[in-house]
């Protein structure tokens, strides 16, 4: 049934992604592919995997952007310029356009927890839902001819055969810098909701009227280099070179 749930879902399970912390290592991309190629539905195929034109289905990808404040031409030239690594997967939108366009009923939003899923046995592979999603969160698997998307690891988060710590999406469990968080964004007392409130968590493309559940935490203001006193000169105790640097690092920790 591709009509959206009429009432707000009692739970809004989703991710909170911290753009201040993501180092762009792609570990979550690999763990996502690894878990989901053997989990829910068809595997995530690769085409020409060892050839020059390798491509494949991924549910989570990391983009990198440079952001240049007014007056700058190059990253690092003016003010707060920076590179931001940007993980992107399905945002499990409340007004998911990908769901309502689906002609077969394969795409649906669960009324209990708001997870957006594809029932692959019903999917005809028309690709319309991928057109409807402004975020590029859906990819057609070329081998299976069905639409693949992030399931929020629905086969992990409720899986009682896994240890408690593992009952989170694979990307969240894997992230080495703790840039990804999972929880119920309908519950204002949840860790993720508090994080969003404190850090000003934002929606991507709010003008597309999709009302995403996933939130992104903006990068914190950066400390300009000039304001940093050169730590090595402070109390290096005569050390020089590597040891002076190490001393400086230890000082700041």
């Amino acid at each position: 049934m591709t009509s959206l749930p009429t009432l707000p879902t009692p739970k809004k399970l989703g991710l909170v992604i911290d753009l201040d912390v993501c180092v762009g290592c792609h570990a979550c991309v690999i763990s996502c592919k690894e878990w989901n190629t053997g989990g829910y539905g068809n595997s995530l195929s690769d085409q020409d995997p060892y050839g020059p034109d390798v491509s494949g289905t991924f549910l989570n990808r990391i983009h990198s952007f440079e952001v240049i404040p007014e007056g700058g031409k190059l990253v690092g030239e003016a003010g707060d310029a920076r590179i931001v690594h940007f993980p992107k997967s399905c945002l499990h939108c409340e007004d998911a356009p990908c769901v309502t366009v689906c002609p077969t009923g394969a795409s649906y939003k669960r009324s209990a927890d708001g997870i957006v899923l594809v029932e692959e046995d019903k999917c005809i592979g028309c690709g319309l839902c991928a057109w409807a999603c402004p975020y590029g969160a859906r990819e057609m698997d070329v081998a299976a001819g069905v639409m693949k998307k992030c399931t929020l690891c629905v086969d992990r988060i409720y899986n009682e055969t896994l240890e408690e710590v593992d009952r989170v999406p694979s990307c969240v469990r894997t992230c080495p810098s703790n840039a990804r968080h999972f929880g119920d964004l309908a519950d204002s007392a949840s860790d993720v909701s508090i994080m969003v409130a404190e850090r000003g968590g934002m929606d991507l493309m709010p003008e597309q009227a999709t009302r995403p559940v996933n939130k992104y935490l903006p990068p914190r203001p950066r400390q300009p280099l000039a304001e940093c006193a050169p730590a090595t000169t402070r109390d290096a105790g005569g050390a020089s070179g590597f040891f002076a640097w190490l001393d400086g690092v230890l000082e700041r920790m």
């Binding site: 591709t2 491509s55 991924f58 240049i68 409807a132």
Partner: protein, 308 residues
């Protein structure tokens, strides 16, 4: 957006087919003429050919019947449902013409209505997508409907000439619809030219508050499904050239032929039929190019993440 041949063929052929079915449904052709019988078959063949072509791009066409289930929310599903319903009066009208040499207004008008409805649904599949600014306008269904009527009326003119009947009414309809269609299409193109994109790399990343956002690195070196499907870009100068080709074949040539035939009113016969056929063919070619551009020039919001 990637201009997929199967979809362009579908929308061109089915537009012509439903347009012709619409004209037949209004009863503008003499049901006793054998050319009208051929016209019924042509309409059904164009519609079926288009529908078959549209299933070619499906990953799992064997489950296509499931697409009839979600008409409550999905324009694609509504298109499918109406297309199936439309076959009933269209086949009934064709039978009435073949068997009884007769025009029945009930299946005729019902068929005309459902034909127009199907074309409207096709257009709304595109017009309803907020993610593609170029398509997300009321003008899109207007363009699709008017092109379908123009093509249908042009084919009806051809069959009227071939059947030796009075071709003035379909000819006049074709001329009026053609002018209306291209007028609306020109304003569709103008809107596209002046369009300010709804979303930007800044809104897509939420980083606009720091400064100007541009892509530093794609997630991967090669193409993926998204860049293949939605990353198609056409050079401005090629688009301009194709727009002129579409205008010459789709508008100028058929308009001149139609005008000559309306003013001079030639003897119905082989000569005038050939002229009408030539006009219809040119029109189909023009619409094909127009549909190609409809996809190739449309930019998808996801390209904000891919630097396109």
């Amino acid at each position: 957006m990637h201009p997929a041949l199967s979809i362009i063929v579908f929308s061109t052929l089915s537009g012509l087919g439903y347009g012709l079915a619409f004209m037949l449904g209004l009863g503008v052709l003499d049901p006793a003429a054998s050319a009208t019988k051929v016209a019924h078959l042509t309409a059904l063949a164009l519609i079926s050919g288009g529908l078959i072509s549209s299933t070619l791009h499906l990953g799992n066409p064997q489950r296509a019947w499931r697409a009839l289930s979600q008409w409550r929310s999905s324009w694609l599903s509504r298109e499918g449902v109406l297309a199936v319903f439309a076959f009933v009066p269209l086949v009934w009208s064709a039978l009435a013409c073949w068997v009884w040499d007769d025009y029945h207004p009930v299946p005729g008008l019902l068929g005309a209505l459902l034909s127009a409805g199907t074309v409207y649904c096709t257009a709304m599949i595109y017009a309803s997508l907020r993610s593609v600014d170029a398509w997300h306008t009321r003008l899109t269904p207007a363009v699709f409907l008017l092109f379908a009527v123009s093509g249908g009326a042009m084919l009806a003119t051809l069959f009227a000439h071939a059947g030796g009947g009075d071709a003035r009414i379909p000819g006049l309809l074709a001329a009026v619809a053609l002018i209306a269609a291209w007028t609306v299409k020109l304003s569709w193109w103008k809107r596209l030219r002046l369009l300010v994109p709804t979303s930007s790399p800044e809104s897509a990343t939420g980083l606009g508050y720091i400064g100007k956002v541009s892509l530093f690195e794609r997630p991967h070196v090669n193409e993926n499904y998204l860049t293949r499907e939605m990353g198609y870009q056409i050079a401005r100068k090629h688009a301009d050239k194709l727009r002129r080709i579409a205008l010459i074949f789709g508008a100028a040539v058929p308009a001149i032929i139609l005008a000559l035939m309306l003013l001079v009113v030639p003897e119905a016969g082989l000569g005038s039929s050939l002229a009408a056929a030539f006009a219809a063919l040119c029109f189909a070619a023009g619409v094909f190019v127009e549909r190609w551009l409809f996809f190739a020039e449309a930019r998808h919001a996801v390209m904000n993440y891919y630097g396109g």
